[in-house]
Amino acid sequence: MSTIPREGIKASEPLRPEPATVLDVITETPNIKSLRLAFDDESLMQSFSFLQGQVGQLSVPGAGEATFAIASPPSQREYFQFSVMKTGVVTTAIHELRAGDRVAVRAPMGNTFPTDDWKGRNIVVIGGGIGMAPLRSLFMYLEDHRDDYGGLQLIYGARTPKDVCYLDDCRQWEAGSDIDFVTSVDT
């Protein structure tokens, strides 16, 4: 496996998250929200890097910490994004957050997609519902490196039309001429 960058977590203090601020909250569906975050420490934010598909540990101190895929592409340097479905204690607290609120993050963690091995090939990305979060990061990475790959196809489904996330992105993918975007709903 290629080297996984760990910028963002201090090796000496792997358990300690870094304070971050909620820049923006986007209501994706009735029970999914996307949060755009930036570390409060500016130099950390500048050096922060991750690979498409990696995850982060998002804390609302007091409620707890949980793992979420980073849903923004590595090329997005202004902020990083998590998309969260409201289900339990931590995600409920996350859904209470508003722009300006403080959270804490340990990231990046986990593995990436072996995108280097895919170079020159046609790629089909298939995702559904909130499962689209890491794939959004991946797909946007692929778009950023469009020339390295052959055909790009994205197949995205959700339970109902109201459960489709990333509507703005979907519209752009739909409009994009060099990608094939297919959506479907279960019902």
């Binding site: 209470e96 957050l97 508003r98 609120d101």
Partner: protein
């Protein structure tokens, strides 16, 4: 999360003892509090506008208002925040008036406490989630239980508003206890004269369905949507056919006690309780009927010209839907005999109750208005009245006042003088209670005009001597022992709850007190409501009272009912219980303890059985919450975590 905190000064009600600005300043130090201020009168129009403006300016999503009791203004402030775009249930009221400023003197300490209370409110509102009311349809028909004067008044008032009423009476006729009275204090107008027309009015009112000889057997449902089973008892008489001609009564060979006349005189197994009975139909009491005791008779059937006798008649059960219920089940008189052996314990025939005396006074009574000693039929000269028999007597566990004894003894003394001009009345009393309008004058009249001798003291003993009854007692005013030779002794027996009141209360899920009188929701602010929505009280079922109070309460209950059922649908509170199905272990403790039968078992798709709350039935009482072993039933707006947060905050 952005919380706003508003501290009400309530003029000087709060601000004189609590430094409200200091409380507001302290709020700003709390997590997620983005705005706080002290407002002179928060409930006033400018006060509410200040709150709304702050909500909008600071983009608040939760509000804490520290002011008076939520009983006073919770609804007001819910509306206020809702107008500003906040879910009304994300507003938490903190009581710093009744719970703080009004009960403390020390400003520093009261301020400290107000800060703690406010911080607890903030802690609680942090855990709040938006709640939404829902609407349920309302059935317009009303059930009135009891056909005494209270039930009659309530039924007529409700029917006057064009609302259909079902009036259920246990006895064969309307009228209740009032129908047995001769005259009423303090005006001395004839009881029948004022009541009978109202009874007839009930009979003829097309919006009232009258069911006599009937009892409410079961009640299900909830405010706006009750369902009641009414059992109509078999009387062997077809009410449709009976004309009330009295022929069967005259020919009936089976004697029976005369309950309507309180045992004065005799009745028959088939009878009509009184000539003014509504409905005027006969009814047969099987327990006294020769046909049922000895197996042969049939006289009434033979003589009935209307062919109304039906020995095969069986009990029938009606089931109907009602939007509201008025309980007007009245009272009974205290059975004094075992409690007071010193008064003869029922062994002396010439010691009678005031109700028996009342029946003697009545022109339509068994003695046709003549006062006669039961023992020998002689007209008495010296009559001793004894008040508070079974009232205000801790020693027999009956500490309360009957509210009417003083006045009806005064009335009977006056009437006695009218009936027997050379008679002398003696009244043993504890204290004179004449608190109603014109009552004091009426009592003076008994003394002055009727010459009644009032003796303040309890009677110790009654014993017979030479054909008279010797009444021994103490006159506590003069400190002397007294002995009065009486021809007749009349006891003012107190009120007890009517027979079966507690059982009925259990069927209706309404509370009752230790004497089985039904309990109102709040003695001052909700005097005709019960704690169960949609069930109201009228008259003496709630406690002893006189006729004016009874009628007033009945009309009040009617007004409440009309307000309720004249709506097509009503909002239900969202602050009801909720089950976390994921964690329900299916132990059914909640179902066992629920007083409103608001919890049911439900099978989930995975086959697990869990408890579900029927929200429209749930009253949010919280009993299921504490009975639930894994605490998966919670009360919305009062979840465990909300309460824990409050406690943690105050212990901080």
């Amino acid at each position: 999360m952005r919380i706003g905190v508003f501290i009400c000064e309530c003029g000087t009600n709060i601000a004189a003892t609590v430094m409200t600005q200091k409380v507001a300043d302290a709020a700003l130090a709390l997590r997620d509090v983005y705005h706080s201020e002290s407002i002179q009168y928060t409930c006033s129009d400018p006060g509410q506008r200040t709150v709304m403006a702050a909500v909008q300016k600071h983009n608040l999503d939760r509000v804490v208002i520290a002011a008076c009791s939520p009983r006073m203004h919770e609804t007001t402030f819910r509306r206020t925040v809702a107008k500003a775009g906040v879910n009304p249930f994300m507003m938490e009221m903190v009581n710093i008036r009744e719970h703080c400023s009004w009960i403390h003197d020390d400003t520093d300490e009261a301020t400290e406490k107000a800060i703690d209370l406010m911080a607890m409110g903030v802690a609680k509102v942090r855990e709040e989630v938006p709640l939404f009311t829902s609407k349920v349809p309302v059935t317009s028909e009303v059930l009135v239980i009891g056909g005494g004067v209270a039930g009659i008044q309530a039924a007529l008032d409700i029917a006057d508003a064009g609302i259909p009423v079902t009036l259920v009476e246990r006895e064969p006729t309307l009228g209740g206890n009032m129908a047995r009275l001769d005259k009423t204090f303090p005006t001395l107008d004839c009881s029948s004269c004022i009541l009978t027309p109202r009874m007839v009015e009930v009979k003829h009112n097309q919006d009232i369905r009258l069911i006599v000889n009937a009892e409410v057997e079961a009640v299900r449902g909830y405010i706006g949507n009750f369902e009641a089973d009414i059992r109509k008892k078999a009387t062997c008489v077809d009410e449709e056919k009976c004309t009330g001609c009295y022929i069967c009564v005259e020919k009936c060979p089976s004697k029976a006690p005369d309950e309507f006349n309180a045992g004065v005189g005799e009745s028959k197994a088939i009878s009509i309780p009184l000539p003014q009975a509504v409905p005027l139909v006969a009814s047969l009491r099987k327990e006294h009927c020769r046909r049922y005791i000895k197996g042969k008779c049939g006289v009434c059937e033979k003589v009935c010209p209307a062919d109304a006798i039906d020995y095969e008649q069986e009990d029938r059960i009606f089931t109907d839907k009602f939007g509201a219920i008025v309980v007007a089940t009245g009272y009974e008189l205290f059975d004094w005999k075992t409690a007071y052996p010193n008064l003869g314990g029922g062994h002396y025939p010439d010691v009678i109750t005031a109700m028996q005396y009342e029946r003697m006074l009545s022109a339509s009574g068994p003695t046709e208005g003549h006062i006669r000693r039961p023992s020998d039929g002689a007209e008495p000269r010296n009559i001793v009245f004894i008040s508070c028999v079974g009232s205000r007597d801790e020693s027999i566990g009956r500490p309360f006042c009957c509210n009417v004894g003083c006045m009806y003894l005064a009335k009977q003394a006056i009437l006695t003088k009218e009936h027997i001009p050379d008679s002398q009345s003696y009244i043993f009393y504890m204290d004179m209670r004449a608190v109603g309008k014109d009552y004091e004058q009426f009592y003076r009249r008994a003394q002055r005009d009727a010459g009644a001798i009032y003796l303040r003291g309890r009677v110790g003993k009654i014993y017979p001597l030479d054909g008279k009854l010797m009444v021994m007692g103490a006159d506590t005013l003069s400190g002397q022992q007294l002995e009065v030779a009486a021809d007749l002794v009349v006891l003012a027996t107190g009120f007890t709850a009517s027979d079966g009141a507690a059982e009925l209360a259990q069927r209706l899920n309404i509370p009752y007190d230790q004497f089985d009188f039904l309990s109102e929701s709040h003695p001052k602010l909700r005097p005709v409501e019960t704690t169960t929505g949609g069930i109201f009280l009228a008259g003496t079922c709630q406690g002893p009272k006189d006729i004016p109070d009874t009628v007033a309460q009945a009309s009040a209950a009617a007004a409440k009912v009309i307000g309720l059922v004249s709506r097509d649908e009503m909002e239900t509170s969202p602050m009801v219980a909720e089950v976390n199905h994921m964690r329900c272990i299916g132990c059914w403790k909640c179902i066992e303890v629920c007083p409103y039968k608001a919890i049911e078992k439900q099978k989930l798709r995975d086959g697990r059985q869990v408890a579900i709350i029927i929200e429209s039935l749930c009253q949010g009482c919280g009993i299921c919450n504490v009975a639930c072993p894994p605490s998966v039933v919670s009360l919305r707006g009062y979840t465990d975590n909300q309460l824990i947060s409050e406690v943690v905050e105050v212990l901080r």
